[in-house]
Structures are given as C-alpha cells and as structure tokens.
Amino acid sequence: MIMDETNMRIVVKLFATLVRFKDGSRAGRPFEVDLPDGSAVKDLIDLLKIPPQETHVVFINNIIEGPDSQLKDGDVVGLFPPVGGG
C-alpha cells in the first residue's frame, strides 16, 4: 500500500491463537499495517481477516480498548484471543 496523507501506519502484535492470521508471524513480533485515517480497531481486525469473535482483548499503547476505539498514526495495537490462567 502506498502511504499518503490520508493513511496512517499502525504497529500490530498478534498473540496466541491469533498468530495464524499473519503468515510467518510469531507471538508478539510487531509488523506494520497502513490504514485510512479515521479507522477504528475493528477496521484493522477486518483487514487482517480475523473473525471479530476471536479477538477478545485489544490494547492500544498498553491500554485496554474496545473494537470501536479510534486509531491514530503510530499506535501500537496488541490483539489477544481469550487468555487466562494463573
């Protein structure tokens, strides 16, 4: 994708079972995604072809957010399926 002023660049990290939605990815290894300005987390999830119900917890810059949260250029997004234990 060609970067222009209407786009923003997001750093994405996938974890656990979500790693399978990015070829060659490993848990927590960051990669970049370009999205149109004004995109929300759910647009990023769409672009990555992750079924929305599989994404359970979303972080933007280490803060838990929801699928409707707006993204901005340079945001670091972490996507998790259901995880727990302890």
Binding site: T17, F59, N62, I64, G66, P82, G84, G86
Partner: protein, 588 residues
C-alpha cells in the same frame, strides 16, 4: 456410607476413624480444612511446634464419577510463612483417591521422637506407619519412584529436603498421572508443617474403597452436564483454546502488554524478554523438540481442560512438568532471565527439593537486588537451588523465602503481604488484584480472588485495571466465589467459563448439591464462600493480625511503576471495607 475423618497421631503412632461431627458436615475442601484448623489449632501456636496440624481434604465432588476437572486436594494448617491460617490446594492423584476411601479429611497431628521419619500408607484397612529412613534426604523425584515400586499406581504426597529442614518455603508435593512430583500445595510452607510432624510421605491406596456416594443422581448429572458444556464452549477452556494450547503461561504476553508483568523484583511492569518465556514460546519448544514434550497435559484423571505441559530438553526428554505462568514469570521476568531451558531446570529443582516456585523465584530476585548475583544470571540462579538442597547456611536463608532473604541482604523493596510474596501481577498496574493480595487471609495470593479475569482477561465483563473504582467490592466477590470453588474440589479454572456462561455457574452448584444432598443453588455460592472467609479472618485475628496486616508494601506507594508510571493509590479505608462485614462494620 457416611464419610469419615481419619485422625493420625504421630506421637502415639496410632490412627482412628471418627464420624464427621455435625459442625463440619457441610464442608469439604478448603471449607473443611479451615473449619478444622479453626476448631483444633491454637492460633497462637508455633507453626512448627507440636500443636499445629496438617489437615487434608478433597472437595465436595472430588472422586465422583466424571465430574470434570475436579481432582483438587486442600492442605490446611497454620502457615510458617505468614503466621496465619493457610489453605493451599493441588491437583494430581491424591484428591480422588482420598475421596474414594470414603474420607472427608485426614488430620495429621502430634510429633514423633526426634529424628524419626515415617511414610504413612493409607488404605481401606487403615494406616501403616512405615519407617521412611530410606527416603530421608532424597528429593521428590526419587521418593515418588521408590514408593511406586512398592505401591504402584497410588497417590504419593510428600516433602523434599526443604520440608525436612522445615523451611518456610517448603511445599507439599502430589504426584501426577506419570508419577512425577509437580502438583504442589506450594504456598505458605505447608511442607514444613508436614516435616514437623515427622511425615516424609503419604501413600494413598484407594483399592477396595467405598467410593463417593451420590445423594441425588439426577441433580448431579444435570449439573455435571451444564458445567461440562460451559467448559467445552468457552474460548479459554475448550479443546485447543488458550489454556489447552499454550498453558497458563499464555498470560505472559498479555500482562506484559498491560504493563503489569512484575520485572526485576517489581521494579518495572514490562520485560523485554517476555515473548521468549511465554506460553507461545513453550508450545514452540514442545513442537520443535518433540519426544516427551507436550502441551495439553492433564494433571489428574478426568480433567477436560488440560492446561499442563511437559517441557523437553534438546533430545526430547522431559525436564519438568510443568512450567506454569507463575513459574516462568518468577524464575524469568522477575529475575531478568529470558532462557526457558534454565527456567525449566529451576522448576525441576523446586519440584524435587520441594519449594514453591513463586516464593523461590521471588527470593532469587531479592538476592539479585541484594547483590548476591546479577539480574539475568541464569546459571547463577540455577546454582542457588543446590544450596537449599544441601542445607548450606545460604541455602537455609534462601529457603525461608523473600522476607528472610531481604533481611539477610539488606533489601527494602520487599513485595510481600503477611509475609508471603506476590505472584505475577503488579498491583500498581492491576489494582483489583492488589486488593486481593492485601486483604485475603492467605497472604499475597492471586488465586484467592482472581480479579485479573475482568481486569485483564475480559472474563466476567471488562474493567479498567488501572482504575481504583469498585475494586474493593470486586475483590470480595471474587474471594467469596473462590472460597466456594476451593471447597468444591473443582479446579479454579472452571471460574472462567462459569463466570461468562450462566448455566456453568448453576451446574457447579447443582453438581455439588447432587453429590452432597445439601440444598445449594447458584445463589448460595457467595454466602457460603463468605462464611469460609469469616472463619479464616477470625483465626488470623486470634493469631494477632490487625488492619495493618492488610496493606501492600510501602514501596508501592512511593515508587512509580513504568510503563504507566503509576503508584498504589487505593486508600487504607477502601482496603478495610473489604472485610468490614465480618464485624458488622465495626473495627475488630
């Protein structure tokens, strides 16, 4: 046939069966160990003296046919680490076998002549007191192996060298289906209490036992079905879900992402090597090395979650089962170590010597801060465990846990509450769990009220981990529900599906009611849990605990934690509100 209490007296070397008195008849698991400890153990006794006891109880449904993931055994007594009441529970083989012998609880009391050690062989015919002279000084891997040669396919409960030395970080081991030691009632030093009774090991032979009576088969089956379905449907507990595929260490990355993964003795909330010690990394190693390595290992027969793992070496031979989240964090991030092979080797040392991995890892981190060795020194950290095994003066200090080690090395950043060190969630970044650490009768313990579920994992709703709001009430609700689940014999991990799926919650209560005949529904879970908490709080008060013991360590109020640069901000009044109901809102 009504269940019985088996009382084993180590002074007289005699055992006797007793009817379960009315006052204890409602309880099992944690509820029963705490009720017995409250009635029979002087709160002011020395934890290692003649008046403390080890009380062992399976849960309400443990040993019943095909109740899913219900193999827990509770171990109770007065803790040498905290000086308060302790219930520590474990998976493995013991719970189901004790239950199948028709026993509600085993009480081990008294003290044999100095220097005498015993193996107690518990069967339908009573108790045999065998000399353990051949087992003394041995680690739990060898103890389990030797006892299975004589008593194959039995449950083995035992202590390693740490318990023999009566160190405050000594746990009680239960063998897993492969007869490996690794299912630990680890927290609080109950291994030292067992050692003080002169008991090196207990063998449970369930052959010919009467089994677990089911009071109402239809209700039990209905509850079991609902609970089983909820476990199989939930994304975290279903087959190939988060726990099954990656184990509990699937939490490493999400806590790191949240800035709540305690790093280098609680000086930061993120570890640059987190991904290398995560559940995903453990799964990669198991897949690559193959052999005996596996994810999805079950710690006891009948588990349908199977969150355990067997971590292999480069040749595919098992090093240890299993690397838990708490373990990979304690030996890893908290010591600045990112090498899984070393974490596996240190975990094996803990399982062999008989140490709680949380307290052990925290202790190494304290020693690192105190200058004994540098953060990140994996080989040096590994070597400290042999000091404990050999009982060197240094080893005996380290084996006493975090507070003793901090004193020995002049460290003031001491992450403990009531003498017990904190697990793998930073209270400054995840406030609700800090309330649990501060107020649970057990000392800092995540399992006592796992608010991580809504604060991080998005289970049972979603709450902001950094916010103080509502966290006192949240912690109390989780502590009460946990006290009930700890009494049921179900693994605490059923909490994830039953908090999200209503039929699971009902099913848990119905299956308990079905087995016991008690009139229990989902609405009784929290009130019954609060009754247990009240007993435990009152024991602690009689042991000398006050509101000042329900506080997080001072440094958390003074030092900002990166990356969020947050301090502990929940007020003492909020902390005191958690258990104000115990005295109807009046000060104790």
């Amino acid at each position: 046939m009504a269940k019985k209490i088996l009382r084993i007296n180590m002074t007289t070397l005699k055992a006797a069966y007793e009817a379960v008195p009315e006052k204890w008849s409602r309880w099992a698991g944690r509820g029963l160990t705490s009720a017995i400890v409250c009635d029979e153990v002087d709160p002011m006794c020395h934890p290692l003296g003649p008046n403390n006891k080890v009380v062992i109880a399976p849960g309400w449904v443990t040993g019943s046919p095909a109740a899913p993931s219900s193999g827990r055994t509770s171990f109770g007594g007065k803790s040498p680490l905290t000086g308060g009441i302790k219930e520590s529970n474990a998976g493995g083989l013991s719970g189901q076998m004790i239950a199948k012998l028709g026993l509600a609880a085993i009480i081990v009391e008294g003290t044999p002549l100095k220097g005498e050690w015993y193996t107690l062989v518990v069967s339908k015919d009573g108790v045999k007191f065998e000399s353990a002279a051949d087992l003394v000084g041995k680690g739990m891997y060898e103890v389990d192996e030797l006892l299975w040669k004589k008593y194959p396919k039995t449950a083995v409960i035992g202590i390693g060298q740490a318990g023999e030395m009566k160190l405050s970080n000594a746990g009680i081991s239960v063998n897993d289906p492969e007869n490996k030691p690794g299912r630990y009632a680890g927290r609080g030093g109950m291994g030292a209490v067992m050692g003080a009774r002169g008991v090196k090991a207990m063998v449970i032979v369930d052959t010919g036992g009467p089994g677990v009576e089911i009071a109402n088969q239809d209700l039990f089956k209905q509850g079991r079905k609902k609970l089983t379905e909820s476990i199989q449907e939930h994304g975290l507990t279903k087959k190939a879900g988060g726990l099954n595929a990656f184990g509990t260490a699937v939490l490493v990355n999400i806590l790191n992402e949240a800035g709540g993964l305690p790093t280098r003795n609680f000086s930061a909330g993120q570890f640059e090597g987190a991904a290398k010690i995560s559940g995903e990394a453990i799964a990669e190693v198991c897949e690559k090395r193959g052999g005996e390595g596996m994810m999805g290992h079950g710690c006891h027969p009948g588990c349908i979650i199977k969150c355990s793992n067997i971590y292999p070496n480069e040749s595919g031979e098992a090093i240890v089962s299993c690397i838990e989240y708490e373990t990979t964090w304690a030996m890893g991030a908290n010591c600045g170590i990112d090498e899984l092979d070393y974490i596996a080797k240190m975990t094996r040392e803990c399982n062999d010597i008989g140490l709680d991995t949380i307290e052990a890892g925290n202790t190494v981190a304290i020693a690192m801060e105190g200058g004994l060795l540098p953060f990140g020194d994996a080989e040096g950290a590994f070597k400290t465990f042999d000091e404990i095994r050999r009982g060197t003066p240094l080893g005996r200090i380290l084996g006493q846990g975090v507070e003793a080690t901090a004193k020995a090395f002049g460290v003031s950043r001491v992450p403990t509450v009531k003498g017990q060190s904190m697990p793998a969630y930073e209270p400054r970044a995840v406030k609700g769990i800090g309330v649990t650490y501060a107020t649970t009768p057990m000392g800092a313990d995540h399992t006592a009220g796992y608010t991580i579920a809504p604060e991080i994992a998005g289970v049972s709703g979603k709450l902001d981990p950094l916010s103080d709001e509502g966290k006192a009430e949240l912690s109390l609700t989780f502590q009460a529900a946990t006290a009930f689940i700890d009494s049921s014999g179900y693994c605490l991990f059923i909490a994830f599906p039953i908090l999200d799926i209503a039929k699971g919650w009902e099913g848990m209560a119905e299956s308990v009611a079905g087995v016991t005949g008690l009139n229990i529904t989902g609405a009784d879970v929290i009130p019954l849990g609060k009754e247990i908490l009240k007993m435990e709080r009152l024991f602690n008060e009689k042991a000398g605990f006050t509101a000042e013991d329900d506080r997080p360590p001072e440094f958390m109020r003074n030092e900002s934690l990166p990356p969020h640069n947050v301090k502990w901000s929940i007020t003492d009044d909020q902390l005191d509100s958690v258990f104000a109901w115990v005295h109807n809102g009046q000060k104790a």
